[in-house]
Amino acid sequence: MKDITEILKSLRNVRLDAHEKNAMRSRLVQHIDSEVSIPSPVVSWYGILWSHQFKVGYASLFITLSVGSTVVFAAEQALPGDILYAVKTKVNEQVERAFVPSEPIQLAQFETKLVERRFEEAEKLDEKKLLVKEDTKSKAREEIEKQTEKAEKAIAKAHTINQIEVTSALVQPVAEPTANMMMRSFSVSENDNDDDVEDDQSSKRGKNSDSSSRKEQSNDDGDDNDRRGKDNDTQEDEDDESDLEKVFKKHSDIVKKLDIKKNNRSRDDR
């Protein structure tokens, strides 16, 4: 018996016969030539959507969303001085703001709500005995003042617009009670006889807009409507405390502790 390696060598006789080999060769040539005539492979959307780049994209999107939402939720609890605090005020609250209906009155309510929130944060800091640190204290104060300014602006805007609305409401008396209600909820004090400087300041803006709109009223609608407009003012006078002031009163201890003067800026402006 031959050595096994010799037998194995004889297996080399296993091969394609000439016909088979040529046939396969021409099939391959045909395959190559057919590829030449095809301009480009068919682009499948399925293929693109599952391509490597897109998979990487999906992964990063998933990570961004999950990390992002974690950050956003964590930021809800942040206090002035925390790293995530900026996320809370600049992202979370901006998003909330975007969902506030476009009525100026509702925006004013929202901004006032945020003033309240700033006070609550300061209270939390106080509970944690963090307000003794001067930089935390000044940050908290800064946040409250910044938000108060925003709220004041929103209130002033709502007030001005309300006046115009009241004017038009006078033409259609049915709508009047609603307009009054709206005005009352965001009225700024009209009491000048008070020795309270703060009230005096806040009323300035309201008064200015009042007087201008009142002028419009008398011009447009005549004496009768003018008298009714004055009735509105009288009603407003009775409601001498705005929501913003209520917030300040409620958190008077923090106001004192942080030495916040509500109308600092308007005084400077003057």
Binding site: K9, S10, L11, V14, L16, D17, R27, L28, V29, V36
Partner: protein, 168 residues
């Protein structure tokens, strides 16, 4: 697609040189002429895909063996038992005995029968080394393993085949 035409001639050169060897390689694995032919054609088509993309192919022969090996693995997975049955029952295509005398033919048949009894790895090593006459270095390139390891394994595989042949 000028590149396609540029690559066409070298590709056909590779085909002319290695078609038989690749066919054999497949045939020993699948024991069926037609399947082996299909597999060979598929292997060359895959090689073409590499070549037309302008990929640098250092050793087309080694690549072809690797492609064929992978195709065979896929095929094994699909119909392992069936192939063994075919081999045991049907034996081999008489056309493979071209030009052999009867004695050689009997030995030839015996080896062919025993080869599939080896593990696919052993069978691979035996055919590459002794049928195709590739050097251990070339085999190490195909299998992506160290040359020394390959030499040792070839030796052991041959021992196992000898043992099998004795039990006839």
């Amino acid at each position: 697609m000028k590149a396609n035409q540029d690559n066409k001639q070298p590709f056909l050169g590779v085909y002319d040189a290695y078609a038989d060897a690749i066919f054999r390689h497949c045939y020993f694995k699948v024991s069926n002429r037609e399947v082996a032919q299909d597999m060979t054609q598929q292997a060359f088509m895959q090689l073409w895909t590499y070549m037309k993309d302008g990929k640098d192919i250092e050793n087309p022969k080694a690549l072809l063996y690797r492609i064929a090996g992978n195709l065979a693995i896929d095929w094994y997975r699909k119909k392992k038992s069936e192939s063994l049955e075919n081999l045991m029952e049907g034996g081999f295509d008489p056309s493979d005995k071209r030009g052999e005398n009867i004695e050689q033919s009997a030995e030839f048949q015996n080896v062919l029968k025993r080869l599939p009894e080896l593990s696919p790895e052993d069978q691979n090593l035996i055919t590459l080394r002794f049928v195709e006459d590739l050097s251990p270095k070339e085999i190490s390139e195909i299998l992506k393993e160290r040359e020394n390891t390959v030499s040792v394994r070839i030796h052991r595989a041959l021992e196992r085949l000898r043992e099998l042949m004795k039990t006839t």
